[in-house]
Amino acid sequence: MQFLAYILRQTGKNLRQTWGTQVMTLLTVTLSVLLFAFFFLIYTNMLRASARLGDDVRLIVYLDQEVAEQMRPGLEKKIRDFGPVEKIVFVSRTEAFARLSAQLGKEKDVLNDLGPDFLPPSIEVYPLKTLNDLTKISQFSDFLLTLPHAAKVQSGSDWLRRFGYFTNLLRAVVLLSGGLLIISMTFIVSYTLRLTVLSRQGELEILRLLGATSAYIRLPLLLEGMLQGFLGSSLGLAALYFLYQYIASRFSGPGFLKLFDFAFFPPELTASILLAGIVLCTVGSLFSIRRFIRI
């Protein structure tokens, strides 16, 4: 008990002695966490969105001629030989027409003048979910174009490709801000702690003479780093949360956020970011302790 009281009191003393720098450090840690978490939040939402879009990936091969029933198994085998496919649906002219009129519902009168032949027959290929790589999708779509009577392949891959570029770019930004986070936290915290150590150097020397154990001297410094990590990360995450709330309330209704089903981090991820912040700052303080205190 007494032990804990001393460690805490000493930590408080340290913070007070260099409070100006401590506040600057806290702000730096907060900003780094905010920056990183901001990009990371967008990134995770993009990933979820693209996963959802990926679910809908299907390749439609429009044909200029109906495929006869007996030809289908051979064609299906040919496609399956090329790549992993979840299912293949053959759509005849009549089926396509039926679908469209079902989709139009009450408006289906507009089709009255058109015969059931005006829609082309098609093969709908649903690749396995593992096929999420854009180059593979376009390879697949190139292959499908070589099938007999294939007139056109629609894969929506153009749009997916742009989305993919953006996700990649965002990933780079996340990595960059993550790196910045690591650097700023460990270095800034270790620098601040160096100031604490320097401001207390005379005292530490005397403590050593009086027989202070290494726990007595080091734990307050370690605690200082931990505290910086905890407060900085909490503030950063809280700031992001309020920003998110603000934007969500401002742009409520059908819009960007709704389209992407934009959501805040789940609790586990929030806790992980907080924990990572604490760990990084603690590591930073360990650097200083190892470098400047020899006991």
Binding site: G202, E203, L209, L210, G211, S214, I295
Partner: protein, 242 residues
Amino acid sequence: MPRDASTDKPLVELVNVTKIYPPDVVAVEDVSLRIYKGEILFLTGMSGAGKTTLIKLICCLETPTRGLIEVAGRDLSRISSAGIQRMRQKIGVAYQDFRLLDKQTVLQNIAMAMEVTYTSTKVIRARVDELLALLNLSDKRDKLAGELSRGEQQRVALARAAANGPSLLLADEPTGNLDPTATELVINLFRHLNEKNGSTIVVATHDPSIYADTEHRVMALNKGQLSAHPNRSPRQIELFEA
């Protein structure tokens, strides 16, 4: 406190200890010395004789160039740094240069010694007040150490060394800046610690007035070499050789 030199294991034992400061300053030369539990020992010698060096060797602030030092049966050259810290909690040292924190109060300075052993604040308060009363410093408790006179600082350093009721108290020139009245207080503090607490006390000094008519052992250092003090009775020389 009476002792039995023949059976007791000494609290501090130095065997052929030599300390040479680089490059070639021989501060302590081939010193062998046993200090027994409960003893008061005076270490005399001219300036530069090696008194401070000897004290620093015993509290591990310096390491001997040659020879063996044991404190409480433990070889200091084989003790871990954690072990040294634990040992220092039981050894009170009043340094010749005091080593106080000028920007902290007298209370804070003395309390530090007890805080490192996780003593409760209440006990620390009571102990500090007791020590300051013994050394006639009660009115200085909340003054900054840097604002005290040399003589007052000296007594604060002593109070800090005595705070934990150490088993071994090393006092380096404890009366150098004191008038006879204050010197008397310090001697009384030593006696008090020795009798009430069983503390072993080593006093390095060149002030003959404090060891002139003592019944305790007096050793002289001369250019790093140790011998029984020339003025001492044969009984004390015999004790030294035991």
